[in-house]
């Protein structure tokens, strides 16, 4: 037994801080460069060049954008509800980042005799030299995703602007409808994995055909539905109604400027990274694959981010009622059916 603080080994604190810093830096960099990658990628898909002035290949563009927004004037509309207006960007941004606390980047590693999972949120099992991941990871992610909605709804409501209000309304309706279908799709994973711990869910998916999405046809459909619903939940094309530029100017963030706008912008991309990471964890075998675990995980996440951008370059936008219909009348019954089908499958092929 090594040195202990408050009954917990020192290694617990050290790894905790190290993991937090590493993941935060990773997510922050990914978010910054997702904006660059999106502009560059969509640029090339649309026979443009994309950013190229700031740094080689425009690589410093995210920093330049950040600086620019930082120096812009802070505007709070006179009619806005000041407190809610100021807090909304934070409410949108923070949940997007802290979802990452439970996502496993790799398998457990042994450090100084302790087994430590590569996942921020973890608890020390006092007897067996092991640090365990928390066992409600999926629920935590669902909870955080729901909190993020409030940021946008508050922003829309507090701006006291008509376009913002419409954007906020759209957003709340949209996120609630798609959360249900996404949640039901996750139940498919629970049925197979029989655990809520993300670490264990991934640990079970060894080998290509061990990935949850390839387990059976129902899981395959469920995985795709989950990803589509996730896109809807984070307002990505073709579900980017809350900020549909051609309809609502900028939707909920019409009245926002400067860093408050930057926060919404970061939240959007952080959400995209989170959703891709969650999809990877739940359906695409997390860290499993031919490369070192962390590399596998990151590669899969980046692959999904690429898909998000590709979709954006290809598809038009849904209309509000069509989007609701898709959520309630197509995805919800479909996931319920998939759950039944999956149950039968698990009984027949245990």
């Amino acid at each position: 037994m090594g040195y202990e603080i408050l009954g917990l080994p020192l290694i617990y604190y050290i790894t905790m801080v190290a993991k937090t810093v590493a993941v935060f830096v990773f997510v922050l960099l990914t978010v910054a460069y997702a904006t660059w990658a999106e502009r560059k990628l969509i640029g090339h898909m649309q026979v443009r060049i994309g950013p190229k002035r700031v740094g080689p290949y425009g690589l410093l563009q995210p920093i330049a954008d950040g600086l620019k927004l930082f120096f812009k004037e802070e505007i709070v509309p006179a009619q806005a509800s000041r407190f809610a207006f100021l807090i909304a960007p934070l409410v949108a941004l923070v949940p997007a980042f802290i979802s990452f606390a439970v996502i496993p980047f790799g398998d457990t590693v042994t450090i100084a005799g302790y087994q430590v999972p590569l996942q921020i949120a973890s608890v020390y099992d006092g007897t067996s030299m092991r640090v365990l991941d928390i066992n409600v990871g999926v629920l935590y992610i669902l909870a955080m995703a729901s909190v993020g909605v409030y940021g946008i709804v508050l922003a829309g409501w507090a701006s006291n602007s008509k376009y913002s209000l419409l954007g906020g309304l759209r957003s709340s309706a949209q996120m609630i409808s798609y959360e249900l279908a996404a949640g039901l799709a996750i139940i498919l994973v629970f049925m197979s994995s029989e655990t809520l711990s993300l670490h264990k869910i991934v640990a079970e998916q060894a080998g290509l055909f061990g990935w949850n999405i390839f387990r059976n046809p129902f899981m395959f459909a469920g995985g795709i539905i989950f990803f589509i619903c996730s896109l809807a939940e984070i307002n990505r094309t073709p579900f980017d109604l809350p900020e549909a530029e051609t309809e609502l100017v900028s939707g909920f963030c019409t009245e926002y400027s400067s860093m408050k706008y930057a926060m919404f912008f970061m939240a959007e991309y952080a959400n995209m990274v989170t959703v891709c990471a969650v999809t990877t964890t739940l359906f695409l075998g997390g860290w499993h694959g031919p490369f070192p675990p962390v590399v596998n995980f990151v590669a899969k996440v980046y692959g999904l981010i690429f898909v998000c951008m590709w979709i954006r370059a290809t598809y038009p936008r849904y209309r509000y009622d069509q989007l609701m219909r898709l959520g309630w009348k197509v995805f919800l019954p479909a996931t319920l059916l998939l759950i039944c089908g999956n149950a039968v499958w698990l009984l027949v092929f245990p």
């Binding site: 649309q46 026979v47 008509k162 109604l241 051609t246 370059a313 849904y318 509000y320 069509q322």
Partner: protein
Amino acid sequence: MATTETMTVNMGPQHPSTHGVLRLVIELDGEIIRKITPHIGYLHRGVEKISEHRTYHQTIPLTDRLDYLAPMSNNLGYVLAVEKLLGIEVPERAQTIRVIMAELTRIKSHLVWIACHALDIGAMTVFLYAFREREKIMDIYEKISGARMTSNYFRVGGLSKEPYAGFERDVQEIIDTFPGHFDTYEGLLTENTIWKQRTIGNGVISAEDAVDYGITGPALRGSGVDWDLRRDNPYSGYENYAFQVPTGTNCDTYDRYKVRMVELRESVKIVKQALDALKPGPILADDPQVCYPPKESVYNTIEGLIHHFKIASEGFPVPEGEVYQGIEAPKGELGYYLVSDGGTKPYRMRIRPPSFVNLGAIEKMAKGAMIADLVAVIGTLDIVLGEIDR
């Protein structure tokens, strides 16, 4: 008991999808539109009034700025009206080049339409593809007239100058490559589920209503009315070309989309036929009272110099009378009504812009729909504020 009230939203004049400075005051019940009141006039420049103080030639550059996405069509309608009043015959070569340029203009205008329409509905990529192709036509514009948009190329009696060397090669390249590009757009949109969901059943206007509202152009044909001035009231030699006039059946945005996509291909066919029929010859009518003499004649002969001076300084007199000339512009029937009192300036010029009349039906088409539908309707009407406000 709780009461509800409608919300009045001011859409425009600065709004991303009002295609310029259109202002729509809309009454919303949630996202449902209860009432639309278009407010126009933000781009009013008084073209009709200014033209009363300018010679007939000096008005041509003003017409460039009506529908600035289709300048040569505007030029064409105007010069045809003046020529009708003068009763002069335009040489065949000039007519053929006019047809080529007018059809290229139609393609150019429709390319902007598909670009903006798709962008409004959220399909970003088509926008840039269409603008890439439009640039090819802009290049021809620039080479032939010196300007990318404000062409000012046609003259009363013919053309301002002979097309540049290599004009035929450039046009041939467009004939060869554009149908493939149209396939690309259609590949992205025509069978796209979301595109179909957004456009089918959107902005429905029946054939009777469309006629009652005076809608013309692709918007009218999308409602199933088989009417195209190029075929039904030919001008500038359109009777010599074989082309289809597509019509829709469901009167909705999707049908109007398909009508315009067919029109794009038909325009390419017309350009091809016209290019094949293009023969050397004069490009200005042989009427020294109206048409500028050739430069050699201005520099070397006293008659040429006098004619040039007279036309440039005071214009040419036009016989007393009035005339209406309508043409099938990309957006619908573009009409010029000219009244002459026998002088060198029109007594009155009235322009019938297709966008203005088509815009009148917007409430009919979008009432009871959602904001997103209104944006699609603005796109499908293909309006340009330059000619609405004049």
